[in-house]
């Protein structure tokens, strides 16, 4: 009789112990959460205010030679501006669509070229050779009073 009771008591104790352990584990996990959440939050970089740039003036028409290209700073992004042999200006994002290296204008190819992995784009920004999977984003050009201005694409 007492043996059964002892067992029952033991069982009761056991379930109480298990319950305690479950609560303990639950509490511990909650505690870990309360510690890890601020930690992860802390490690995420805070938002830095970015000044929105909508246009950049790059100088006079005569500042650039025909059949040449140059990289300009458009806010935080690099943009490549090309002056074709007929004097037309074009602008594209200078971040290669492959792995973000900065592209350049190659006069000898008459194309836009990425040195990292030999990617090539034509003078409309279309990817024509090498690993780049997509064309370069187009930027708008406006010419007023001999001054050339690059604008953000309207899209």
């Amino acid at each position: 009789m007492t043996y059964k009771k002892k067992n029952q008591i033991k069982n009761g104790e056991k379930t109480r112990r298990d319950f305690l352990n479950i609560l303990l584990s639950g509490g511990f996990i909650a505690w870990v959460g309360a510690v890890v959440y601020p930690l992860i939050s802390y490690l995420r970089p805070p938002q830095v205010e970015v000044v929105k740039v909508n246009s950049v003036n790059i100088g006079k028409i005569t500042d650039m030679d025909k059949d040449s290209g140059k990289i300009i700073k458009f806010g935080n992004d690099p943009v490549i501006v090309i002056k074709l042999s007929d004097g037309e200006f074009r602008a594209f994002s200078a971040s290669c669509t492959h792995l973000d290296c900065i592209v350049q204008y190659r006069k000898d190819y008459g194309q836009i070229y990425c040195a990292c992995h030999n990617g090539r784009y034509d003078l409309h920004g279309r990817n024509i050779s090498g690993p780049p999977p997509a064309p370069l984003a187009k930027y708008e050009i406006a010419i007023k009073n001999d001054e050339v201005t690059v604008y953000k694409p309207s899209a």
Binding site: P38, L39, S41, Y42, P46
Partner: protein, 361 residues
């Protein structure tokens, strides 16, 4: 299911590293249970606070910039812009102070309980080294925010180091990275605080802990003559550990409360050409020395008063460290009242002069 899974991992590791010996050894580790058992927790608290320091320190390094022009602004950035940055920074500062307090309490409790006696002399020496390293951590870390208080505290502190005979000048230049406290000092202190000191500290800490684990917890002197069956102890694992964990949780909570309700200040940016702020004084753990130096007359006999004070403290410190040597009575089982009196004197001195330091602004 859970049990067998745990068992599986244990068995796998045991096969490779022979954990059985270690486990049985640790199972037998015990802690004496008597009226002074409570002091045994302070070692663990010091360890916890050190771990907190390392963790928050690593997080702070992600955003802190250790150059003269950027240090102050980076702290402001952490406080204001980084998510929970205020929490990490304040915890780091509070925990630093609490750690030094805990280490002092730990040291004094070991002293009074005479745990430094044979065979634990090396544990005592490594412990003392750890104390000095902690104070070094405090001194070097204090400069890092590069605010007015930090700048002048460092200036005064390194000036005092420069007072030492023979090595003073060399030491001063070594610490400051030049004649004056400049960005070069900041770079040095930063390297000291995050690289050199942690490395050395971990080495001595490991030694300290290994010694303790190997030798077990120290028993009170009057247990020397007791029989094994008469000694009430509690096993280290899991009893004492769980008690430890409890206290650790409470300490962590206290840190969070302190950080929220008493956030750590950041004064104006350091400027070498502005007068020292009124009421400038070092942090509390240096204050008793700073204050007592003020009472020494400018010249005693032929020696400069301040130098005498510094040498005096040096001597007192050395004697304190070497206590295992001159306490010959305790190892023999005799009560050593002198130790107690010296200890009480030391504590009173420290407390009185710290209070004076704050009252007499």
């Amino acid at each position: 299911m859970k049990e067998t899974f745990n068992k599986k991992i244990y068995n796998a590791l045991n096969e490779r590293f022979q954990l059985d010996n270690l486990v049985s050894f640790l199972k037998h580790k015990s802690v004496p249970k008597y009226r002074n058992t409570i002091w045994y927790y302070f070692g663990g608290i010091s360890l916890l606070l050190f771990i907190v320091q390392v963790a928050t320190g690593i997080l702070l390094i992600m955003y802190y910039k250790g150059s003269e022009d950027l240090a102050y602004e980076s702290i402001k950035f952490i406080n204001a812009k980084v998510s929970f940055g205020w929490l990490i920074r304040s915890i780091h500062s509070w925990s630093a102070n609490l750690m030094i307090l805990a280490v002092f309490v730990h040291m004094f409790s070991v002293y009074f309980l005479k745990a430094f006696r044979k065979p634990r002399e090396l544990t005592w020496y490594t412990g003392v080294i750890l104390l000095f390293l902690s104070m070094g951590f405090g001194f070097s870390g204090y400069l890092l925010p590069w605010d007015q208080l930090a700048f002048f505290a460092t200036k005064v502190g390194t000036d005092i180091a420069g007072q030492l005979p023979f090595v003073g000048d060399f030491l001063l230049k070594l610490l400051r990275g030049g004649e004056d406290v400049t960005g070069a000092t900041l770079s040095r202190f930063f390297g000291l605080h995050v690289a050199l000191l942690p490395g050395v500290f971990v080495v001595f800490l490991s030694l300290h802990l290994i010694f303790i684990q190997r030798q077990g917890m120290s028993e009170p002197e009057d247990w020397k003559n007791k029989k094994e069956s008469e000694k009430t102890t509690i096993p280290f694992f899991p009893n004492f550990t769980v008690h430890d964990l409890l206290i650790w949780l409470i300490v962590i909570n206290i840190l969070a409360i302190l950080a929220t309700f008493f956030p750590w200040e950041l004064g104006p940016k350091a400027d070498a050409f502005v007068s020292a702020p009124v009421g400038i004084k070092p942090e509390w753990y240096f204050l008793f020395m700073f204050q007592s130096l003020k009472y020494i007359p400018a010249k005693v006999w032929l020696i400069e008063g301040e130098l005498l004070g510094i040498l005096g403290f040096g001597l007192a410190g050395l004697l304190w460290v070497l206590v295992p040597f001159w306490d010959s009575k305790t190892p023999k089982g005799k009560r050593n009242k002198i130790i107690n009196y010296v200890g009480i004197f030391a504590i009173s001195f420290i407390i009185i002069f710290t209070i004076l330091g704050y009252l007499l602004d």
